[in-house]
């Protein structure tokens, strides 16, 4: 953890509910989606198809076409693409080395654990620099 003050993330209740719902639906595969909002507040999530072909129970992939379509939609609506969430079926809500390898500074990573089909802990992370480890962020569920 950094000794500097870490940014907090607000997630509106409806988006929180949508992540839990989609993560459970995707089980036993990993589910994933985009996080849209403004200035540290996630206002909505867009569920995306997990395009991972080899190991969808332990990996997720967002297609470049889905990335482009999501970002274009966000821009058109005056929202920012704040990051992505994905689920860890039967695994803790902690980012893995694979998650770190793909993480981009400037995009949030939310991870939700799904235990035997039931959505569990949801955590928020970012990487402050391209060579930095993940930093856990305070995550607050806000009213819609």
């Amino acid at each position: 953890m950094s000794e500097r003050e870490t940014p907090a993330v607000r997630l509106v209740q409806a988006a929180h509910d949508a992540i839990r719902r989609e993560a459970a639906r995707a089980y036993p595969h990993e589910g994933c989606g985009a996080l849209l909002g403004r200035a540290g507040q996630i206002n909505e999530t867009l569920a995306l198809a997990n395009q991972e072909q080899g190991s969808p129970r332990t990996r997720f992939t967002v297609s470049p076409a889905d990335y482009l379509a999501t970002e274009t939609a966000a821009d058109a609506r005056g929202l920012s693409l704040l990051g992505f969430w994905h689920s860890h079926p039967d695994h803790p809500a902690r980012p893995s080395e694979t998650d770190r390898a793909y993480a981009w500074p400037g995009l949030l990573t939310l991870v939700i654990a799904v235990e035997r089909g039931a959505p569990g802990e949801l955590t928020a992370w970012d990487v402050p620099a391209s060579d930095a480890p993940f930093r856990r962020l305070d995550l607050t569920i806000a009213p819609d």
Binding site: E30, T61, Y67, L68, E71, S96, T98, Y102, W104, L107
Partner: protein
Amino acid sequence: MPVRIRIPTPLRPHTGGRAQVTASGETVAEVLGALVAESPALGAQLLGDDGRPRSFVNLYLNGEDVRSRAGLDTKLVDGDELAIVPAIAGGGR
């Protein structure tokens, strides 16, 4: 020739917040070189030590992966749009 380049959200801090910039070149490699010359901080994000795009960076020309064409040597024509697309992936194990 000038080509439009779509900048993904995580790289926009390096383009003054702009989602689209223009750069000139006859090939994808030349346009990327011009872009990085204009915004050097982008280089560390986009390019590896060998000067080639990192594996986690996808380049789409008019909606098509340049790897399915001639890669960095793909020729550009007037009106082309080059999109920089971050690879988004991960997983529990």
